[in-house]
């Protein structure tokens, strides 16, 4: 599904190489986790894949179902089926959450040559999905993420994911700022979307999220590369011993 090959990325403004040859393949139906110390390039990877400005790809490729993501605009990547759940969801005063979601859903449908959803259809679908994430009507009416608590913001990300039904979901530190109950709720939302046709890349610092979203594969990222790949037990090893042992081992 997602094939990242030899990805090299530097910051556009500073001559600083962040990713130094990332190789990673996420198969449909699988959940891959990326762990790694601060500054290892995890978030950069998620931004580069989703098309944020400010990065320059100096080498490598990233294919989604055989299509080169790196040649596409951010919105084209979304329409192609890529979704990034933000670590820090952006507040947009003046744009209603509902308006935002309907605009997004219909923009993607249009880009894919599908019929747009009517207001009625949309309302029915969103109400059902919001309910399972404990998002009330009031939250849907409010401006996007404005005045939302940390947990509400992350739930709102998962709601967007549920509405947009992407093929490939990247979750960037979705557990940050969440208490245990909120994390469970978010994890349930993610698990409900697990599907044979959908891939997940879960970026996290901590093993605890992976207790709730069980990964098939765990990668350790350090200094812009994937340095070790293993099963779920790798996450436990990090939890118990930190990164030092692993980094020493691969050095």
């Amino acid at each position: 599904m997602l094939e990242i090959k030899n990805l090299h990325v530097k910051l556009e403004e500073k001559d600083k190489q962040i990713l130094k040859g990332v190789n990673l393949t996420v198969e449909a139906g699988k959940v891959h986790a990326i762990m790694g110390p601060n500054g290892s390039g995890k978030s950069t990877l998620s931004y580069v894949l989703s098309g944020k400005d400010g990065y320059e790809v100096t080498d490598g490729s990233a294919l989604l179902d055989g299509e080169e993501l790196l040649d596409m605009e951010a919105e084209e990547r979304a329409a192609a089926g890529l979704f990034l759940a933000f670590q820090y969801p952006v507040e947009i005063p003046g744009v209603g959450n509902m308006t935002f979601l309907r605009t997004a859903v219909n923009a993607q449908r249009k880009a894919r040559g599908e019929d747009e959803m009517t207001a009625g259809e949309f309302l029915k679908v969103i109400r059902a999905k919001a309910k399972t994430l404990k998002i009330d009507a009031e939250m849907l009416k409010r401006p996007v993420n404005v005045g939302f608590s940390g947990g509400e913001k992350k739930r709102n990300e998962i709601l967007q994911m549920a509405m947009l039904e992407p093929k490939m979901c990247i979750l960037d530190e979705t557990d940050s700022g969440l208490d245990v109950d909120a994390m469970k709720l978010v994890a349930e939302g993610v698990n409900a979307l697990r599907d044979a046709g959908r891939g997940f890349l879960v970026i996290t610092h901590y093993q605890r999220l992976l207790d709730h979203i069980k990964p098939d594969v765990v990668h350790i990222m350090a200094d812009g590369r994937i340095v070790k790949t293993g099963g779920p037990e790798l996450a436990l090893e990090v939890e118990n011993n930190g990164y030092a042992d692993i980094l020493a081992e691969v050095a």
Partner: protein, 434 residues
């Protein structure tokens, strides 16, 4: 009126030349007296000049000069705004009243006449209003184009509101002649407890000078929603002069689209306790041939009054926006609550926003806040929207509408606000971001 500054000979000559070429309309004795007094004060003040402090950011030349630069009539293809809203329509075509296109001028709760009819009568209530609030508005700052208007206005409407009016009065200004030079003057008097909504739409003329005096008695409410613009080359200078009595309300919103030069002045005097005055504006400008100026002066002269100014401008491709807003709180105007915000969203590096917010406060128990910002589109928000599949153009439009929202929220009536949103969406569609 402040003592006339030492006027330059050039300015004096220009003013005299302009006035010499104008005909004062006939009327009854009181009207002629009001007009003559206005002509005299125009001469004393002199018409605006580029070196005047109050015209520092907006060049007055083309508003002052005798000849009118031609303005092509532009057809946007939009359906008329508020088409489905039931209202009493008064239509002016290049300043000339069009009886066939207008509604029957009767409506329960108000009396409405054309200015020329009212000023022809020997006895008329408008005697106490025509030019009166305009003259009061000259108190702190000279506004010679408004007194020029009082002296030479060819028509307008005078409305006396005595009760609750069931539907809005809609003044429609059509522009059909490329060289029309129009001066309109309206007087509106709301008696105690009366309430009305006034709508104004259309470009009006190649050059329009419009003054509206609104006298709001105790507990009366005046709502005003205006859409000006469309024709790219038209010029307009407008002045609203209003005085508020105890517990009365004035709420005015203006949307401006297109127009090579627009100056909207609003002079508000809160003279009765607990009165509320809100004035808001949204403007969208594209290109070097767009210059928009909001100039507001609010005087608090009573206790516990609230005033609110909300002005938002979206500018691109070299468009210019100006805001000059002042709150003057007199010594006895305790418990004043004044708020002023002016913001611009610049969609590129070529556009500019010039703001001069001012507070002058003599009372010691007041809350007054003001802010002015200039910024670009929020890149983080733009990326967030795009990452959800929204195209960069559509995302920009969403953020533009979001930016304007605070000003549009000042429109109380939802149907009227929807009409404004539709207008803006139409404009955005014609001026696709990318």
């Amino acid at each position: 009126m402040p003592a006339t500054n030492k006027m330059t000979q050039v300015k004096q000559d220009a003013t005299q030349a302009r006035l010499a070429g104008m005909d004062m309309p006939d009327g009854s004795a009181w009207a002629t007296e009001a007009r003559s007094a206005a002509a005299t004060r125009t001469l004393e003040m002199g018409l605006p000049h580029g070196r005047d402090e109050y015209w520092k950011y907006t060049k007055p030349d083309t508003l002052v000069q005798s000849g009118v630069p031609a303005a092509a009539v532009f057809s946007s293809g939009d359906v008329p705004i508020w088409d489905e809203v039931d209202c009493l329509k008064v239509v002016f075509v290049d300043g000339a009243f069009d009886a066939d296109a207008s509604s029957d001028l009767t409506l329960e709760g108000l009396e409405i006449e054309r200015l020329v009819e009212a000023t022809a009568k020997d006895i008329h209530w408008a005697k106490d209003l025509y030019g009166v609030l305009e003259y009061r508005g000259q108190d702190a700052v000279q506004r010679p184009l408004a007194s020029l208007n009082t002296a030479f206005a060819t028509d307008g409407v005078v409305i006396r509101v005595t009760g609750q009016v069931s539907k809005p009065v809609h003044l429609v200004y059509l522009h059909k002649s490329e060289t029309s030079d129009v001066i309109l003057h309206h007087c509106i008097k709301l008696e105690d407890g009366a309430e009305m909504t006034l709508l104004e739409t259309g470009p009006g003329a190649a050059r329009l000078n419009k003054v509206m005096e609104v006298d709001i008695a105790d507990t009366a409410k005046f709502h005003h929603v205006r859409v000006q613009g469309r024709d790219h080359e038209r010029r307009a200078v407008t002045g609203i002069f209003t005085r508020l009595g105890t517990e009365s309300t004035f709420k005015s919103f203006t949307l401006t689209m297109n127009g090579v030069l627009t100056r909207n002045e609003c002079v508000i005097e809160l003279t009765g306790d607990n009165a509320i005055a809100h004035v808001a504006g949204a403007c969208v400008g594209d290109g070097r041939d767009f210059h928009h100026d909001d100039t507001v002066f609010i005087t608090h002269d009573a206790v516990n009054c609230e005033s609110r100014q909300v002005f938002k401008k979206v500018l691109r491709n070299g468009a210019t926006g100006v805001f000059q807003g002042k709150i003057l709180v007199k010594k006895d105007a305790q418990k004043t609550d004044g708020y002023q915000i002016s913001q611009s969203l610049l969609l590129d590096d070529d556009s500019q926003f010039l703001a001069k917010p001012e507070l002058e406060i003599y009372a010691d128990d007041v809350i007054c806040s003001h802010g002015s910002t200039t910024g670009a589109i929020d890149e983080e928000a733009l990326f967030y929207l795009r990452s959800r599949g929204v195209s960069v153009g559509e995302a920009t439009d969403l953020l533009v509408l979001a930016f304007l929202a605070e000003a549009l929220e000042e429109i109380e009536d939802e149907t009227l606000a929807e009409g404004i949103y539709e207008r803006l969406e139409g404009w955005l569609a014609r001026h696709a971001s990318l």
